[in-house]
């Protein structure tokens, strides 16, 4: 029986999912995508991916700026706008609704909705936070035969295989490409034996 990989079984995956979501929240993006996973790898405590990216002249500040530019210009994997801004065009004040729900049902009501029994089958919508892009799922969960990323370099290699237009645009603006980064990872892994 094939054991299905999942974030709970893999500390690196769990860290990267959390960090990618935090990057999307921080930038007020409407989705979590491969672009944010690249940023997560640049902030992870395992330095392997960060070192490979640094050797390709990719730093966290430059990558954040590139991700912001790619997404705001509509070249990302998801929509360029976040839910709060979209709803504002309809005259709906999402932050006010979120405040009211927290006041009525507790400070963690919204955050826990997606994890609660009632929210189990709901989409990751405006109240709960950014939606996860299919490309990110593929990058994180695409290798079902493998349970774990031994290092963040392996996660970076998986990311470069994710066929993400947004990631390609980010790396292109940083003077690189998924192929170049992928080759650099393979070379580093080969040297490591």
């Amino acid at each position: 029986m094939t054991r299905r990989a999942g974030p709970g079984r893999d500390p690196i995956r769990s860290r990267l999912l959390a960090a990618a979501g935090a990057e999307a929240d921080r930038a007020r993006h409407g989705y979590v995508g491969c672009e944010h996973l690249l940023l997560a790898l640049l902030t992870d405590k395992d330095p392997a991916a960060r070192e490979i990216l640094a050797s390709n002249s990719i730093s966290l500040p430059a990558a954040r700026a590139a991700v912001a530019d790619v997404i705001s210009s509509g070249r990302g994997d998801g929509p360029p706008w976040n839910a709060a801004d979209l709803l504002a065009t309809l005259g709906v004040d999402l932050p006010a609704i979120q405040r009211q729900m927290r006041a009525d049902y507790g400070p963690h009501a919204i955050d826990e909705l997606y994890r609660s029994p009632v929210g189990r089958r709901l989409p990751w919508g405006p109240l709960c936070g950014p939606q996860m892009a299919p490309g990110l799922k593929k990058a994180l969960f695409g290798n079902e035969g493998r349970d774990s990323f031994p290092t963040s370099a392996h996660a970076l290699l998986s990311l470069t295989d994710a066929d993400s237009a947004g990631l390609a645009a980010v790396l292109a603006s940083l003077g690189s490409s998924p192929e170049l980064v992928g080759l650099a990872v393979k070379e580093r892994l080969r040297q490591a034996g």
Binding site: G30, D69, S72, S73, G74, R75, P79, P80, W81, A83, D85, L86, L87, T89, L90, V92, L94, I97, M101, Y105, A109, I110, L113, S116, P117, V118, G119, R120, R121, L122, P123, G125, P126, L127, C128
Partner: protein, 77 residues
């Protein structure tokens, strides 16, 4: 950032991409608000029938949508 799209500008020109995305966000938000209220109603002891009446749908549809989600205090209707 010269390529950056201004949401306000796009919305003011009635860009269907913005309009449809906004409607999608609204629909997702309504789904989540409904789930919050249904959960609260069940915790307060409301029956599925009463919840269905309040939502203006049939008992079967609300039960099918939520009953399998293992609410606290779940019981058969």
């Amino acid at each position: 950032m010269s390529e950056a799209i201004s949401l306000a500008e796009a919305a003011s020109h009635r860009d269907p991409e913005v309009g449809l995305a906004a409607v999608t966000a609204l629909r997702q938000m309504l789904e989540q608000l409904e789930a919050l209220q249904v959960k609260a109603a069940r915790e307060d002891g409301w029956t599925w029938e009463r919840i269905a009446d309040a939502l203006g749908v049939t008992r079967q549809s609300v039960h099918r949508k939520y009953a399998s989600r293992r609410f606290p205090g779940r019981r058969r209707t």
